[in-house]
């Protein structure tokens, strides 16, 4: 009985009333272009969502804009250009590579290279140490530490 109640309540939850936007397209290519575009454009109000994900008013307006421009026969590139002229490269989830966005594109590769170099240097150092290629000074230091530990242990007994 309880299960039944839960199911009824879930069925009545607000999600079921969420509006579905119905749009008519002239051909499947246009529909495909629409889907790709709204998935690539950022909603500037809720910045980590695309305009396909977001239900903010601005996202609705931008979807309408994309739809209308497709109806007018505009190409995907033209629409992306239209949005960039108004909102900047930030509006694209897949921004073009230029001086301003260079760090964005190259940054991860630079960090990967730094990480690999560090890994290589550290592992080589460790290998050398394991093989016993340590300097006299370091050996001396280690011996001194060992002596200290022994002395402490003796005190504790």
């Amino acid at each position: 009985m309880k299960l039944f109640q839960i199911i009824v309540l879930l069925a009545l939850s607000l999600n079921c009333f969420a509006a579905v936007e119905y749009k008519k397209f002239a051909n499947p290519e246009q529909e495909e272009a629409y889907k790709i575009l709204i998935d690539e454009l950022r909603c500037l109000v809720c910045q980590n969502q695309t305009i396909a994900d977001s239900n903010a008013e601005l996202a609705q307006d931008l979807r309408r804009q994309v739809y209308e421009m497709l109806q007018q026969g505009k190409s995907k590139d033209e629409i992306a250009e239209f949005m960039t002229q108004r909102y900047g490269d930030f509006v694209l989830y897949n921004p073009p590579f230029k001086a301003k966005t260079g760090l964005l594109w190259i940054g991860p590769i630079v960090f990967l290279v730094i990480g690999l170099v560090m890994l290589f240097l550290f592992s080589r150092k460790k290998k050398l140490a394991d093989r016993g290629d340590v300097s006299d000074a370091e050996l001396m230091e280690k011996e001194q530490q060992k002596a200290k530990v022994r002395a402490l242990l003796r005190e504790g007994e």
């Binding site: 500037l44 307006d61 002229q85 108004r86 909102y87 900047g88 930030f90």
Partner: protein, 176 residues
Amino acid sequence: MLKYLTPLALFTVMAVFLALGLNLNPRDIPSPLIDQPAPNFSLPVLSNASQTLNKDKMLGEVWLLNVWASWCVSCRSEHPVFNQLARKKLVKIVGLNYKDEPTAAKQWLAQLGNPYNVSMMDQEGRTGIDYGVYGVPETFVVDKKGIIRYKHTGPVSWQDVEKILIPLINQLKAEV
């Protein structure tokens, strides 16, 4: 010595980056419209819907475009600042009443004061899209040739007016 300095240096670099990140405002998106001609518009005037206003009417003057709406909470906090600026009679302030109900908008102005020389209605938000509006309130400074010279996203404070807007307006007014 290096053993202790390396982590300290790494920590300092990270701290600087994180501090910068904390102080930057992710909502402050640089507008590509700066130094570009202000997009054209032709919209009905709020006080008299049979009249329309377009951009060319403002040519030859320095003017502010303030995007506002009666549903916008930060516009309410910004409003006294514009009232005060309007009293100085330094510059024409044009309101873009963005996606609003005309009756609600008129009531809002009657209640809080009207700093705008004129407000126009953008009920569908199309002029908003042309100006790259994404968070109301937004304020644009347009020069005599109709070029956008500055954009402020979010509520303008009196400090912003004194430190940024007034000097900029005076500078633009001096331009031919």
